[in-house]
């Protein structure tokens, strides 16, 4: 009886979240409307993230023609792309900038969706898949970082994987071995080497793209089925049609984003933001240059990790993951003003740790 009831409740839950009867041209295109109000710019963030993903796919495919995923040739092939392949430097630089801009827009999309309470019933699964997409995006960044096989890539990956192993110190009994085993599975051998590069390459170009296709597909269908969330408590100024009005406006934002990306790609090599010794080919017998750290989008967790005991970060990260996944149920009764305040606070924390994390670290550690 109880099982039957659980099944019925699950079916009811899914039917409300996946109204497949709306899967028709009229609902998804003709009748779909977007509210226009002060926070409506937030509706463009998801589209912007998708634009950068498309740029990543296009440039990534071009890089695949020349990139060699072996420890002996990876760095040389990246140098070949940069110095010898026509427009190779531009394609590579656009790939690097678009990855950062994609992560930035995914984070902005998360915060604006939170502030607008876009996770409200029946959009819980849209939110959960969005959080999964954020995780996949970070995984793209982490796996892609290793591929050029330069000093900062290999050493930062080593630090990241070492952190996983250190978790074992906080786990009881047999469980203490699990993080080390997990690290070895990811690493593939005793130290970061060819097996690690092969695994990260496979993850970066096959497994994660397949995962993002599936999850993003569900996310987009879900958004189309439910339409845009209301976003604010007050009545919107007016409603505009998704097709063609909003779509054309979205294309306008994409056009500006493309222009910015092109100028950055042509004029500002991503590597110029770092010291050149960090981009020399990794030499296991050579000295490790100063300044090894992860990409900027991990600073919000990296600098606290350097300052605080690991267990504090572990507890914090676990709570954050649970909080993000359970947001639709935990904040069900929270009003939009409070959510907006929380989103602003989270945004300020991210910006401060990204821009001034190193200064804060030196302030405390000297």
């Amino acid at each position: 009886m109880k099982l039957h009831e659980t099944l019925r409740n699950t079916e009811k839950f899914l039917a409300e979240r996946l109204p497949v009867e709306k899967m028709n041209y009229a609902s998804m295109v003709q009748k779909k409307e977007v509210p226009v109000h002060g926070l409506a710019w937030g509706y463009y963030m998801g589209g912007l993230a998708m634009f950068f993903l498309m740029v990543q796919i296009a440039t990534g495919l071009m890089l695949l023609f020349y990139y060699q995923p072996t420890v002996s040739d990876a760095h040389a092939s990246v140098e070949f792309i940069t110095d010898q392949v026509p427009a190779g430097a531009l394609v590579r630089n656009v790939h690097a900038w678009a990855s950062s801009l994609m992560i930035g827009s995914v984070l902005a999309h998360l915060l604006t969706a939170f502030a607008m309470k876009a996770f409200e019933k029946p959009r819980e699964l849209t939110w959960v898949t969005g959080v999964l997409l954020l995780g996949i995006t970070f995984a793209f960044g982490f796996t892609g970082y290793l591929l050029p096989w330069h000093q900062i890539a290999v050493n930062a990956t080593k630090i990241g994987l070492q952190t996983i192993e250190e978790i074992g110190g906080y786990l009881p009994g047999q469980m203490a071995e699990w993080p080390r085993q997990a690290k070895e599975i990811i690493q593939g051998e005793a130290s970061v080497g060819q097996a690690t590069l092969s695994r990260f390459f496979s993850l970066h170009v096959i497994i994660l793209p397949l995962a993002i296709c599936g999850v993003l597909g569900f996310h987009l269908v879900s958004v189309q089925l439910h339409g845009m969330s209301k976003g604010i408590d007050a009545k919107p100024r007016h409603m505009e049609r998704f097709f063609p009005t909003f779509l054309l406006k979205d294309l306008r934002v994409w056009g500006i984003a493309f222009m910015v990306l092109f100028i950055l790609g042509v004029c500002l090599p991503f590597e110029s933001l770092f010291a050149y010794p960090l981009f020399e080919p990794f030499d296991p017998k050579g000295s490790t240059p100063d300044g090894i750290k992860p990409e900027w989008y991990f600073f919000w967790v990296y600098y606290p990790l350097e300052l605080l005991p690991l267990w504090v970060i572990l507890v914090g990260s676990t709570l954050l993951a649970v909080l993000l996944l359970a947001t639709p149920w935990l904040f069900k009764n929270t009003n939009r003003q409070t959510l907006r305040l929380l989103a602003i606070m989270a945004g300020i924390y991210l910006v401060i740790m990204t821009l001034f994390g190193e200064n804060i670290y030196h302030l405390f550690k000297g």
């Binding site: 940069t82 430097a89 630089n93 049609r241 063609p244 009005t245 054309l248 406006k249 294309l251 306008r252 056009g255 500006i256 493309f258 222009m259 092109f262 100028i263 042509v266 004029c267 500002l268 090599p269 590597e271 110029s272 933001l273 010291a275 050149y276 010794p277 960090l278 981009f279 020399e280 030499d283 017998k285 050579g286 000295s287 240059p289 100063d290 300044g291």
Partner: protein, 200 residues
């Protein structure tokens, strides 16, 4: 791994014994690092990032007999414009020795800032638009096109690619202008259609 022939090892040891310790000059690296606040290493002037000592490619222990002879010639280039090509130095390192001569270079060890004044002001070995002198003072690599102070590099690349950027900008602006008109057209069409529905 590449094996080093026995004769090469013996000759290297002999060269080292004659020449004393390998000559690397960390005074310059220390000055650049302090002035620029950037991490720099021996690869700014040397072939190998850990300097000339060792047996890795670009280091003394890895040199062939011909390269050792070239090294000896470079070490003896005390006067400027000797046109030497030391196998342990990169193009920037050789540029310094050829322009100043070893004697003047050694004198500059006590005032490494002076090196910037002694080198040609307009030389730009990597062609990135930032002179070698500015790269030396900024702690960026004079031979890596993608390395430079971000703002200087941005300005130099913007000036170098102004034509392409202007064309791209024009294409984007025209595209946005077209989209704006398309939006306006749809807006008018929707209003006409709504009015027709209301009246009919």
């Amino acid at each position: 791994m590449r094996s080093i022939p026995f004769t090469t090892c013996c000759t290297t040891l002999a060269v080292l014994a004659i020449a004393g310790t390998a000559q690397a000059y960390p005074e310059f690296q220390k000055f650049v690092s302090q002035k620029s606040g950037r991490t720099v290493n021996c690869a700014m002037c040397h072939m190998h990032s850990d300097g000339p000592e060792g047996a890795a490619p670009g280091q003394i222990g890895h040199l062939t007999l011909a390269e050792q002879a070239e090294l000896g010639r470079a070490r003896g280039a005390f006067e400027p414009h000797a046109n030497v090509k030391s196998p342990i130095l990169n193009a920037f390192g050789n540029h310094i020795i050829n322009h100043l001569g070893k004697k003047q270079f050694l004198e500059l060890r006590v005032t490494p800032a002076e090196l910037a004044h002694k080198l040609p002001k307009d030389s730009d070995l990597d062609g990135d638009g930032i002179t070698d002198v500015d790269e030396y003072l900024s702690g960026t690599h004079p031979l890596i096109k993608s390395d430079g102070r971000p703002w200087l590099l941005f300005k130099a690349n913007l000036a170098a690619n102004l034509g392409q950027i202007a064309l791209m900008l024009a294409a984007t602006v025209l595209g946005l202008w077209g989209l704006q008109h398309l939006l306006h057209g749809f807006d008018v069409a929707t209003r006409v259609s709504d009015a027709d529905e209301e009246s009919g």
